[in-house]
Symmetry: C2
Subunit: 374 residues, 2 copies
């Protein structure tokens, strides 16, 4: 089972950019609007109310342009067609899943980005990003509420002989309430992503701001750093060694955060969570460092077995989640087994989403209210 | 003269991507290394010790690839050639100026980014960036010193009916010394850039960290926000109205920063500086809002005339700078005229650089020690 969860994380990673086939709607509604993740002033890519994506790229002398986004039936993505004006356009064969998708553009055999879209780090490159409006997008919207800050910190790392970067979300009021101390969630990205992912793609800061404004959670700090400390080549997770990253996280980052931010520097007020490969790392580190973390969360990132955990009294919460298009039964069964063994375990399945950021945005929203309860 | 400085800022903006012609060295030294601004693991683009840049882009079926970077003699940029392996390569016709350069890639008539390089916001798009090692690059290097943080804040803006983004540099020790208050420099980007420019392209945070570590300056806060509040189309600066941005800056951002950070909320401890168009904005706002700012700095961004300033007693410093390939005589003459009129005016000319970020990194390094002196 231990082996299984690693293989699961690996295979989920491998299929992360593939979409499940859907039946194309008979008629495309012509209410396309620019994606909210476009570069300033750019009209394309566009999305419509059904979730179709439409692309428009200028390259009059090109022979072929293929967008990597598409649906199961068109595995190769969406082939654009050149118009009489030399401009290439095309629409996905069907509606896309709600939420954020990475993509890129193949121009005459080369891999480029869509010049209309903003860039997001995933698949070990800065990819183009597009946002399909979701029915529940309100929970990560930028609203007129008090906002926390996302701070870039550079912390010393002896083990890697450099200053390493992390981002720290401090909740609204952190600057003013100078006697207050806060619990901390250490939140990891997935394979091929970096410490920018949870803010840029995940809107973790806006999810927190909104939950705090609605008084659904007590404020806490989130720390996000780079988890691919040893070079991980594609498919190389099998031989993954957690030690270098564990050293950075536990021996270097946590002491720096506890020394420089007003944290409650106790195991019972420290959580670790991660998506996909970050879940694999969370699982490995939490099982080894039982005196460091008390709340564990794997988002599309594997499972815990009751017998993996030596001292039940040290674990305050285990949260397991995934998209309904991933492995919901595995997640639910694991949570049930943990509950039967006396753990405070919770499972969550994101409806209609796969191994993508909409699953993880929703997972964070579900996880946050369960953390650091008295 | 007032008119002249605006026209200057405008024309400098227009020529910002053009390079001055240089004599190509007779022999290219084959010590090319990946640019430090490449995406993780990417071998190209590369730079050599002379300042040549070499590009390598895969697009086997393309008919033409031209990199926008080049030298005066090759105004169209650097044309790449396709090898037998279908890979396009090319080297600039001569050495580039030291420091950071924006560029993009024309593939078969379309504008794309170099898939090997990181992206930086300039020219109203996310451009590719390349770094030519400079003889003085040590002052903006990431070193093993105490580091300040760069915080993303979202501040409420009634005038634009949204939450607006700014980045706030807080110096090392800001979190720990909770009774200390700090002066603030409001630092603006240029035309087509945004609030990310001074950190990403300018390394403002590292420049400050290093100056503080060397005890060359007393710590202060830097605030950077988006200055193109009203849509500015290319060449439209002539009809530029400062009012919308001035409202955001003076009536919304400054009160938010003073309420949420430990600032010295006084005119004498508040500076404004800007590069290029940001200098034009700085000039307009400082002349109008004499009770808000006491230190003014225009980096390749125009000049002040003594007669423009009504109350000399309110101005503590005027700093004017540019690259030696811009208008150094104008900058020097203006500073001299200001000094003759009794102002504390300083000019600085960056040797061997044009209207680019190396000029502005150096200008910030020269400006910082002059600010907020008792």
């Amino acid at each position: 089972m231990k082996q299984y969860s690693i293989v699961l994380a690996l295979s989920l990673t491998l299929i992360s950019s593939l979409m499940t086939a859907q039946t194309a709607s008979s008629k495309i509604i012509e209410d396309f609007k620019p994606s909210v993740l476009n570069q300033p002033g750019k009209e394309f890519p566009q999305v419509n109310s059904q979730g179709y994506a439409r692309f428009r790229i200028e390259a009059p002398a090109a022979d072929s342009i293929i967008v990597s986004l598409g649906l199961g039936g068109k595995k190769g993505g969406t082939k654009l067609s050149k118009g009489a004006d030399g401009v290439w356009t095309g629409t996905t064969a069907g509606p896309m899943d709600e939420g954020f998708h990475y993509y890129h553009v193949n121009v005459d055999g080369g891999t480029f980005n869509d010049p209309g879209a903003l860039n997001f780090y995933g698949s070990v490159r800065w990819e183009s990003g597009i946002e399909i409006p979701a029915h529940d997008q309100d929970f990560y919207a930028l609203k007129s509420v008090a906002h926390g800050n996302v701070q870039q910190i550079l912390f010393p790392s002896k083990s890697t002989n450099t200053s390493r970067r992390a981002f720290v979300y401090t909740p609204p009021g952190y600057e003013k309430e100078q006697s207050k101390r806060y619990p901390v969630l250490y939140l990891q990205h997935g394979w091929g992503e970096d410490e920018t992912a949870w803010s840029n793609q995940g809107h973790a800061n806006l999810i927190m701001d909104n939950l705090i404004a609605e008084e659904k959670i007590k404020p806490f700090i989130i720390v996000m750093t780079y988890g691919m400390t040893n070079e991980i080549k594609f498919g190389g997770l099998k031989n993954f060694d957690i030690t270098p990253f564990q050293t950075v996280m536990v021996d270097e980052l946590i002491p720096y955060v506890d020394a420089n931010f007003r944290t409650v520097a106790k195991q019972s007020y420290r959580a670790m969570a991660g998506l996909s490969m970050g879940g694999m790392e969370t699982r490995m580190i939490t099982l080894k460092k039982t005196d460091v973390f008390s709340h564990y969360a794997l988002l599309s990132g594997g499972l815990y077995n009751p017998e993996d955990i030596k001292d039940k009294s040290k674990v305050k919460l285990i949260f397991l989640s995934c998209g309904s298009k991933e492995n919901p039964d595995g997640v639910k069964k694991s949570a049930t087994a943990l509950k039967n063994a006396g753990f405070n375990a919770v499972s969550y399945v994101s409806e209609g989403t796969a191994h993508e950021f909409q699953t993880w945005r929703r997972s964070l929203k579900e996880l946050a209210p369960l953390l650091f309860k008295e």
